[in-house]
Symmetry: C2
């Protein structure tokens, strides 16, 4: 399973065999079963997370139980709660598994050691963060400028490998629309085809 | 004006007099008059921008002329279009000045030289990026979970020094509501006080 991570990284970053060995030596592999949590609101996000297989969801839960989905992370995607991870403070979010999932983990301490030792890794991580900012910014723009139909289409474009692995109530909670509205959008789209 | 930047940085980061001198030597000061642009859609964001005085706005403009405000950047705030700056590709956004504004600029090339020479600066920049991700994420959560009243209150909380320096149509374009809705929210809030 770890080979998935190494193959992905070698396609992204110039890493020597020694670099790869060092990155591996500080990593932990973890399996998370469907519906299990890897982070709960109030806990500190101790790890940077790379998804090798499966599907994770970051979400917020209001006191009344309503869930709001912030993002999905499937194969070959990095995730964590940045605020909690960077400042080592309690998280406002939950991360759970929508499918049986295998991840590679590094603690913040170990990851700092990695990026300080491997300059190409550091540059890569900065690029990933810049891309994250860009992606979330695109979502904000969608939130304030798109119709509900356009939001749904944007979700499909953003998550082409994910959108039909996610239960509809989670899609609705990602778009910020009711389930009824989502059903209406999907029916209208099917008719158009 | 440059002293504003140095005072701010010394309060945030451990920098030696040599570091400060080096950072200054690669910087440019620029004045932008109210309504002038520092970045236009389609241009490459060549600079990291620090606002010493004044107020900048990042926004997107649809073909029909409708504007969508992504963020504001007032005194002591870093800004740029991350996607364009990091990948040196044409920007999807505009950045203009809402007030006469003075900024300090560094080209991407020079800024890379700075963070590679000054490790404390690099760590600081990574923290700023993590905070940006966190802030935009908070806004996404607001977009999908808040009522319009809560969105307006969140805007005031996020921009306590800015919210009453911004014309109402820009506030509406930030919240993703019509001007009429914004007026209604503001009237209701005034009545409550």
């Amino acid at each position: 399973m770890y080979e998935i991570f190494e193959r992905f990284m070698l396609a992204q970053v110039a890493l020597t065999p020694d670099d790869l060995q060092f990155i591996r030596s500080l990593s932990t592999i973890k399996k998370i079963r469907k519906r299990q949590f890897i982070l709960r609101e109030g806990e500190v996000a101790r790890h940077k997370i790379f998804v090798c297989r499966g599907l994770l969801r970051t979400f917020s839960r209001k006191d009344d139980g309503t869930e709001y989905t912030m993002r999905f992370a499937a194969e070959n995607v990095w995730t964590t709660d940045h605020e909690s991870y960077y400042h080592q403070i309690p998280s406002k979010f939950n991360i759970d598994a929508i499918e049986d999932t295998t991840v590679v983990l590094w603690t913040r301490e170990n990851f700092i050691e990695l990026v300080e030792t491997i300059p190409t890794l550091r540059t890569y991580v900065e690029e990933v963060m810049a891309s994250s900012i860009n992606a979330i910014q695109g979502r904000v723009l969608g939130n304030i400028s798109y119709t509900n139909e356009e939001k749904y289409q944007d979700f499909i474009n953003t998550y082409p490998d994910v959108f039909n692995r996610v239960p509809l109530h989670m899609v609705a909670s990602y778009l910020g629309v009711s389930r009824e509205t989502l059903s209406r959008i999907r029916h209208a789209q099917l008719k158009q085809r």
